[in-house]
């Protein structure tokens, strides 16, 4: 890694170019990736808390037989909102938020490639979430499940506007997710530091790259499915209406064509976080970099060939089921390669047992257990027995909480010091880990047994004497322990911001460039953009001759011509510096665009179509202004 030193006196100009103006207007128009990603992170965790509270209500209801704590309708609303919140408003956005904050730092660049799209994505995501939760105010809470199956969600059986809230809110969040995916893919392809060949980039960027490409192919079919259902409900079309030539199963095909890649979209950033933390806390380079990268790509590809395993009980032809069962049985292979690589890395290294690593090891245990039940439900005859039972609920919570929440918590303990500049408490962190780990297993392991004993999922209560009382009560106790563990982490985060030990630039002895800048990082991330010569820039000690003449691009980055925000674009595979470009500094257009789209879809919700038209026209005008203006201060 080499860099040019800045000449004294040039820092201020760089800082001024990258500073966010003060005040409300300044923060509403802010575009810097760290600022927006922090908002993303906080908002995602707020939604996580809301989804968690909903699950506690449900657990309390199920803790005893024939409980009257919740009625059937409320229970349906809660499990719909719980699933929707966790999948659309927490799991996907939090992965993108981590990537938006840390990938530019790890890749050695100053910002994301489309700063205005970053801000727009955030606003549209928040508005989508508010839209969904506004349904509580109107007493029209979505109650069709997070999968929103027709015909239940069609106009005939859900005549109110509850499903419209779901469809429109989720569509907003999908737009935000797709925008974020495009942004991250372009970031990884074009904004890596000079010399960071594609074979040298951190493994997290491989995971985010595959996630981004999966989002680009998997989310649009759900947008289409949602629009078709909304047309059925408002315009009176017949896509899902068997009486007039439509087909209810079409929804399931489109939904699960999105829904299964979605699982990997949730999972892969988590696996990337694991691949980042394991070598640092094992004090050694990762074993099998190329194998991990290739198996990440393989998971992404295989993820598109397995959607029908959610539909094994819908009466499809046997041949199709056999194909999808086989494809589902292939998925554990690349996952197992990665797990073997992490274990080998830990084995080879000198392990430092800090909290992030505890969460990683917890992840490995839980994720493997979830993987094993995954192999079981991939088999058609077993799935046809277990499909509508609590066994499946146990399986997917093992995979999603194990595969995604535990790595995200590990990432939180690992990276929060970089964001706030303060360490989290180790003691409190370890307590939180054990509470979370034990609580999680106490909640979800008994559900396997409840399921095998025949308890169907998606029911609000059960009769006495079914034999499910004990395991359900255990699960409820477990959920309280789990919540305590998560609250311990929350308390740790809050107290660390104020009282935490100073983190310094590099508290973990990190491998990647994010640990090279100060904590918290300056707005411009890197004053001098480093030239990278290996996979572990901060661990590479070999003397290195710069390959690229820094006098052209580096000089320009160090001493910009005026108060402009500049980044260097590099070539796709070899990261040869190609071009220095300027980025927008601040903009109202993202917020205005999001507001006009809210107006457009809100008009659909209340069936006032002139409002929708006004919103669309406004959005087009803002779009023109957006492309017309550079807003880069030049």
């Amino acid at each position: 890694m080499t860099l040019l030193q800045a000449r004294p006196g040039t820092e201020d100009r760089l800082a001024a170019a990258w500073a966010t103006p003060r005040g409300l207007a300044g923060s509403l128009t802010a575009l810097n990736h760290k600022q927006v990603a922090q908002r993303f992170l906080v908002t995602a965790f707020v939604f996580f808390a809301l989804g968690g509270i909903q699950s506690l209500f449900m657990r309390w209801q199920l803790g005893s037989a024939e409980s009257t704590f919740l009625d059937a309708q409320t229970y349906n609303e809660l499990f719909t909102m719980h699933g929707t919140t966790m999948m659309f408003l927490f799991a996907v956005p939090v992965g993108e938020a981590f990537a938006m904050y840390f990938l530019p730092l790890m890749l050695g660049t100053r910002d994301l490639p489309f700063p205005r799209l970053t801000a727009f994505g955030y606003y549209i995501y928040v508005f989508g979430g508010i839209f969904l939760y506004a349904s509580f105010l109107f007493g029209e809470v979505p109650d069709g499940g997070w999968f929103s199956y027709v015909p239940l969600t069609g106009a005939e059986y859900s005549p109110g506007s509850s499903i419209d809230f779901w469809l429109l809110g989720v569509t907003f969040v999908e737009i935000a997710t797709i925008g974020g995916a495009i942004e991250l893919v372009v970031l990884i392809l074009r904004n890596r530091a000079p010399g960071m060949k594609i074979s040298r980039m951190p493994l997290l960027s491989w995971n985010v790259l595959v996630t981004g490409v999966s989002i680009i192919f998997a989310f649009p079919p759900l947008v289409v499915a949602s629009v078709l259902l909304e047309l059925d409900r408002t315009v009176g079309t017949h896509f899902y209406d068997p009486a007039t030539g439509g087909d209810a199963l079409l929804w399931q095909h489109l939904f699960w064509f999105f829904g299964h890649p979605e699982v990997y979209i949730v999972l892969l950033p988590g696996l990337g976080i694991v691949s980042t933390i394991v070598p640092v806390l094992a004090r050694t380079r990762i074993v099998g970099y190329s194998l991990i990268a290739v198996s990440t790509v393989a998971i992404g590809i295989l993820g598109f060939g397995v959607w029908v395993h959610h539909m094994f009980t819908t009466g499809l032809p046997q041949l199709g089921l056999a194909f999808f069962s086989l494809a589902s049985l292939f998925i554990p292979i690349p996952s197992a390669i990665q797990i073997s690589a992490w274990i080998a890395t830990l084995w080879q290294g000198r392990v430092v047992w800090k909290t992030p690593l505890l969460y990683i090891v917890g992840f490995i245990v839980i994720f493997v257990a979830g993987g094993v039940t995954g192999v079981m439900v991939a088999s058609v005859p077993f799935d046809q027995q277990a499909h509508d039972s609590y066994f499946v609920v146990a399986h997917f919570h093992y995979v999603l909480i194990g595969g995604m929440l535990f790595p995200v918590l590990a990432g939180l303990y690992f990276w929060l010091p970089k964001i706030t500049g303060r360490m989290l408490s180790e003691r409190s962190g370890k307590v939180s880990f054990w509470l979370t780990f034990v609580g999680f297993n106490l909640t979800f392991f008994p559900l396997h047994i409840t399921g095998l004993q025949g308890m169907p999922r998606r029911v609000y209560t059960y009769a006495e004497g079914t034999g499910w009382e004990t395991t359900q009560a255990l699960s409820t106790i477990g959920s309280i322990v789990l919540t305590t563990g998560l609250l311990a982490t929350l308390g740790n985060v809050i107290s660390s911001v104020r009282y935490g030990e100073r983190a310094g630039d590099d508290p973990w002895g990190g491998e990647t460039l994010d640990w090279w800048v100060s904590s918290p990082p300056p707005a411009y991330n890197f004053r001098a953009v480093p030239e990278v010569a290996g996979r572990s820039p901060l661990w590479d000690t070999r003397p290195f001759q710069p390959r690229y003449d820094p006098s052209t691009w580096q000089q320009e980055l160090l001493e910009p011509p005026g108060q402009v925000r500049q980044v260097v674009l590099t070539s796709l595979l070899d990261a040869v510096p190609e071009e220095v470009i300027t980025l927008p500094k601040q903009s109202w257009w993202p917020l205005l665009m999001a507001l006009f789209l809210v107006l457009a879809l809100g008009g659909v919700l209340v069936s006032v179509y002139p409002l929708s038209l006004a919103g669309l026209l406004g959005a087009v005008c803002v779009g023109i202004a957006w492309t017309w203006s550079r807003e880069d201060g030049s």
Binding site: P113, A225, L569, P577
Partner: protein, 202 residues
Amino acid sequence: MRTSGYAGDPAPRPAPAIARDSGWWGMQLTLWVLISMLAALIFSYYYLRSGAQAWPPPPAEDPVLWRTGIASALLVLSAVPTVVVHVAARSGRAGGRLPAALAAALVLGAAFLAIQLADYPANDIDPQRDVYGSLVLALAGFHHINAVLVLIGFAVVALKVRGDRMRPREQQMAVIVAHYWYFVVGSWLVIAFTLYLTPRFW
């Protein structure tokens, strides 16, 4: 400013006339999003078609071809001025044929939309009556919304380019608009084949 520096490289690579910058990549990925949407719509069409006895479901009849034939020919023809815009944008030379090409693309695109919008009522398409009509609404609606957006894009480029040199950002915008229009032309061929021709032989 464009740079391409290889210290000690005997022959530094010349920077391309217009780099495939972030915007270009962003547009390519956006096109893949749209292609994915189109694939979902086409899948829906054939999935629902394969479950139907008669297609289009009676009383609807096979759509008349000559109007959409003319419209499709105009749309394919509009690819020619789009190529002119594309080539001009790559070289950065405005003036010359560029304004005429932009105007031609706009006129041909608008004529296509006008004919098609007249075609649906003339073919007695009714999205609320049967699922064929619903599919026409979805597929054609998807296409025409994109077409309108690109026509606005052509107009923005026409208004933005002044003088006989395009600035790099204008070049990039024009290339992006041209790529988007190629998608509009190509996706229409798939959609027209699906909506207008398949009912005649399947």
